[in-house]
Amino acid sequence: MKKTKPIFIKLLLIILPLTLAAEIIALLVIYALTYESTIDQYKKKVQLVSTEIASVFEGCDPSNPEDYSSFNWYLNSVCSMTDMAYIYCIVPNKEDNSIKYMSIGFGEDATTEARVTHYPGLVIKNAAHPEEFDAINGKLTDNIREEHNKYGDTLISYSPVTQHYDAATDSIVKGDITMVVGAEMSITEIVRTFRRTFIMIMVYLSLVSTLIVLGILAVVYKKVSLPAREISRRMSGYVTNRETEKREEKLSVKGNDEFALMAVSFNTMTEEIDRYIDHIDTLTRDKHTQEAELNIARRIQMGLLQPERKSDARLDLHAYILPAKDVGGDLYDYQILEDGRVFLAIADVSGKGISAALFMSRAVTLLHQFMLTETSPAKILAEYNDTLASQNPSGLFITTFLAVWDPVTEKLTYSNAGHNFPYILSDSLIRLQGAHGVAAGLFEGEEYENETVRLKAGDTFFLYTDGVNEAKNTEGKFYSTERLEEKLAACSKNAKADALQIILDDLNSFTQGADQNDDITMLSLNILPKSDRITLSLRSELSELTKIKEAILGLAIGGDMKKTLYLAAEEIFVNICSYAYDTPDEVEVGIDLTDRVELCFIDGGKPFDPTADVLNIDEYDHDHRIGGLGRFLVFSVADEYSYEYTDHKNILRLYFQQEEN
């Protein structure tokens, strides 16, 4: 921040010079005026002296200089009495501007030099002054001159000698003025004293006025600058300081000026801000607690759902769920049963938040349980609806779509409780149809219908909730069923397996991060094309049988066929475990599913042809012999088989024809 320049400094810089300038101007005026009046009395004095002495010389005869010079002593004494420096009688000559001294007296202030160089009869050229001629010309008064030179300050007054004595006629002659009496008075001391006094006054006045200005500014500093700084200090970083520092006392309110008003306003403001921030703090804390709890609730809820990805040899399941709030009311579920059938469900609870989430939790648990005990989607929905409706104090309901796919018949059986019909992406896009059903949870005793459609290898089954088509972008437009169908139709041409991801990407590019109003849930079942080969790399240990069992159960074939395959596989694998190696070693089991099933066993153990010497059951001693039954069973149930010993490996192949459906 720029360094603050206090306002009183600014004021000082303006007011002080202005005050001083005004003072100087005023003093100069006063000086001029008082100087005149002070000097005036001395002027009167010199004029009085020159006038009086001029009348003294009226009795002298100009033709007799002795008459004049005889007055020298008198003039000396007048000088002493009247404090004059010089009194003289002169004859100014206009022709050569010279003066001629007729008589001269010296006072105390006269210089020694002047006493020596001036005497009656002395003529000094170019020494006449205009005032002297004024006097000759009959001007009686005010022929006064001030002289300021190296001798000091001098006042000089000239008076004409207006008449003189004429010895020839023994009479007084008037007019014809030729002589002037000058009286000079030194005022050096007076002027000096006057000036010194004046300067003293000026200095004192300046000091006093400066002090007054400074005093005023000190008041300004205390009353304006300090409160302003204090308020400013409190204001800057008020909100951040209050976090780290102890809350400061309130600003003190003194007096009733604008700053007091500002302090009151500031105190009121800080109180309001404090209250407001405290309020926000409380809200934030509450919100954090609530968020943490909702996070836990969400994790619990998401834990109830199946993983988002599930794949096996013949299908690929992909689920996506994004709750609008921390906990959602949408759910999906799936279940791959032992016999290979696949249950799929998607549902949407009316409402959002905690109550919807709890209802959803109940619903998903029920669905999951019913999938294990009942095969008909319609019956499951009926039972699910009854259970939910029997205990539903909040009157929530849940739209639910339930389907089961049978890999043997490739038939999808489904039933709907008020949910959006899903799609099958096959050669073209098919929207499922049928009875819409009533949403579950409202009325006990509702009945639902089953519908059946073919879902063959290579097809994709796509389920969704209305959070998808009703997703809004920033302009408030819906994503819409039309856009969903358009995209899905495009996917059905060449990207069925990626439909869910493509829709999700398109949805995100549409909404551009706009607020999500509803949970978004999608579920897709992609049936993989047939003839997939499964290869299991196993150890020759009995415990590995479970892996073979799982692989066979996962095949898209009928239950009886699976039992037959597993019987053959178990018998051969047990034989290999028992005889091929001395210590457990590698065994490779291959399962190839085309129009028939091929089981292939490869081991690097002792050469042994299991197809040779298969027992003849008719000659078998059922009471005593119990060996060789396994191999007998294998070759009884296999349609074809082959054995070879190549590259130090036993290779056994068994073939089974698929049953006609």
């Binding site: 049988l545 009886d560 178990e570 047990v574 059951i617 008719d618 119990i626 039954l629 069973l633």
Partner: protein, 97 residues
């Protein structure tokens, strides 16, 4: 596989549920051996069995020896389990209800 052995005077009934294969046959064998000394006649209730392999057959045939010929009865065989017994010819030597 689940096993449940009950005694009814001198007759014991072992109810079997699940698959009898190389992995589970041992459990059945032990149940048979444990029960045999206390019963004259043994009934294997196989209504819950959905699968049997040669390993299971051996245990059943062994049980027949243990309790004495004619004292073992198999009950409730499902069609595909019965098929295994038929294929291997044991239908001829075992009491099957």
């Amino acid at each position: 596989m689940k096993l449940n052995t009950t005694f009814d005077e001198k007759q014991c009934i072992i109810a079997i549920e699940g698959s009898i294969d190389a992995l589970t046959a041992g459990e059945l064998e032990k149940a048979v051996t444990d029960a045999a000394p206390q019963c004259e006649k043994m009934i294997l209730d196989m209504s819950g069995v959905d699968y049997i392999s040669s390993g299971g057959l051996r245990v059943v045939v062994g049980a027949n020896h243990t309790v004495g010929k004619g004292n073992l009865t198999l009950r409730g065989l499902s069609p595909n389990v019965l098929e295994i017994f038929r294929l291997t010819g044991f239908t001829k030597v075992l009491n099957i209800e």
